[in-house]
Symmetry: C2
Subunit: 317 residues, 2 copies
């Protein structure tokens, strides 16, 4: 019943880092790697590789930089089954910081890009490919960028890039099953020599079901996070995805233990999940940043005013 | 873009009553009716109509009995737009308690039934129909009862019952979009003279997406609850459903206010939502009662042991 080509990528520390300045302690990151490894998950994305010339290590935790030595410390002594990934943003990475893959604990580098930056993404991804890494291009904010420019970008990726996987990223948590079906079919209609992946957000409680929908239409690379942690409402919960997939290599129990022991207490300290302002920004197809600002203010439960502030955008223009 | 035949039924107080012995205070129930009414929701289900010979009003709140006089008190002075519904269980109602519809504030009676009890359900529903009520049959635990006996029950309902709507009820939160599609098509293949409805549970965060899937395949009666309140993981959140439907008669704002003012504080007192033991019982296709017992014990976060207790059921038989 299972499809062997399916690969699950845990991005707990990478996407979760967006809500705590990438400042998880090393003990927890090691526990996550152990659990993901034991659970049979294919990849763990451990953070971003940003330039220290652009961001100060005094302001951000280690998972915004992911130095090779720090990663080596995390995984040392653990029998490595899950591959390791880092994400890079366009224009925020020092190419000299990236050693050849054979000298690094990192297996895969994922380039996050808007449609408008696809030329830059292809240029970067090809350099990482040359250095020996597996690579992906993750097209963000896809619910806003569905015009002809998307097809053009996909054709260019197919023809010019060495990326192994092209991801649909529902940054705003706006998609539902019909729009996911449309996008996966549209990607697969153009991307013939690479895999298609899906990264869902959970603003409207649709992260898991959208991931299932992507599976149904043959996307093979699937992102998820433990207990759904991640920016704003968070992501597709890894435990639900593993519970759904039938491949016997997966074992949900190490993930259940990690939630019991680490993520239930962590959720008391930092906030993610089903929270009304994120649901509103999802249904309005807006970036969650306004909702995140609201949640840090003393109006955090004032949903009506927030809703009205979004529906009134653009009136009178 | 909207489908006029779609009717939304709020069952906040009825399904939510399963987690607090039906003991919401009257002030809150009146606030819910006001908000649902203003939001353009078509029906509000206010509770169960159970016999006081079987259950004591000392042990349960008023929404387990839904006396006509109590309902009249709740809605008095409010311009009534949303119709009122109560639910009955097989063998738990005194037929003499049910006045003719013209003498009651209740508009609709919904009969909850397992497939095996369908003869009794038809018998009851036809009596309610004779008394002038709109009626439904809600087939519970459908994820466990998908054999030939389901088709037989549906044929019998189509031929013998006066029910207006036949509901698919995913009591265990086990369905996902492919199984919802299958069931709605199967129901609609047999049920030609009545509407089909859907009542989802949210154990695996699929309550809302399953409701969307039911809409896609032409189910027209949709249940939801405010902030997803309901037994175990709860139900499809009403605010998400209204945000999704395009009918201009809906206004999400009264529901947002009610969540801000009432349901955020209520959630501190009683528990529902995304909770791992409910997710496990959903993926295992089990009734949530074992998970509910776990959540009331001192092992409430011991997920591994709970998971193993379910996978070991039946071994060695």
């Amino acid at each position: 019943m299972f499809r062997e080509q399916i690969k699950v990528l845990d991005c707990t520390i990478r996407d979760g880092g967006l809500i705590n300045n990438h400042d998880f302690d090393k003990r927890l990151v090691r526990e996550v790697y152990k659990a993901v490894n034991e659970a049979g998950v294919d990849y763990m994305e451990i953070g971003y590789r940003n330039s220290k010339k652009l961001f100060s290590p005094k302001e951000y935790g280690p998972w915004k930089f992911c130095d090779d030595e720090v990663i080596e410390e995390i995984v040392s002594g653990i029998e490595k089954k899950a591959k390791l990934s880092v994400m890079v943003d366009i224009g925020r990475v020092d190419m000299e910081d990236v050693k050849p893959a054979k000298d690094s604990p990192i297996d895969m580098i994922r380039v996050a890009s808007y449609v408008k930056d696809i030329d830059k993404a292809i240029h970067m991804v090809n350099q990482f490919h040359e250095k020996g890494y597996e690579t992906t291009i993750n097209i963000m904010a896809i619910s806003r960028d569905q015009g002809l420019e998307l097809d053009e970008a996909l054709h260019q990726i197919e023809e010019e890039s060495k990326a192994d996987v092209i991801y649909i990223v529902d940054s705003f948590g706006n998609l539902y099953q019909e729009t996911v079906e449309h996008l996966v079919k549209r990607f697969k209609g153009i991307i013939k020599t690479k895999e298609v992946g899906f990264h869902g957000h959970n603003h409207q409680q649709l992260g898991f079901s959208n991931t299932i929908e992507a599976i149904i239409h043959d996307a093979n690379y699937l992102d998820a996070t433990i207990y759904g942690i991640g920016r704003a409402a968070g992501n597709c919960p890894l435990e639900l995805l593993i519970g759904f997939l039938k491949n016997p290599k997966f074992d949900i129990r190490p993930i259940l233990d990690l939630i019991s022991n680490e993520f239930i207490p962590l959720r008391e300290e930092i906030e993610w999940g089903y929270i009304i302002p994120y649901a509103i920004s999802g249904m309005m197809n807006e970036h969650p940043k306004a909702a995140m600002a609201l949640r840090s203010s003393d109006k955090k439960e004032n949903y009506r005013e927030f809703y009205e502030s979004l529906i009134n955008v653009g009136f009178g223009e």
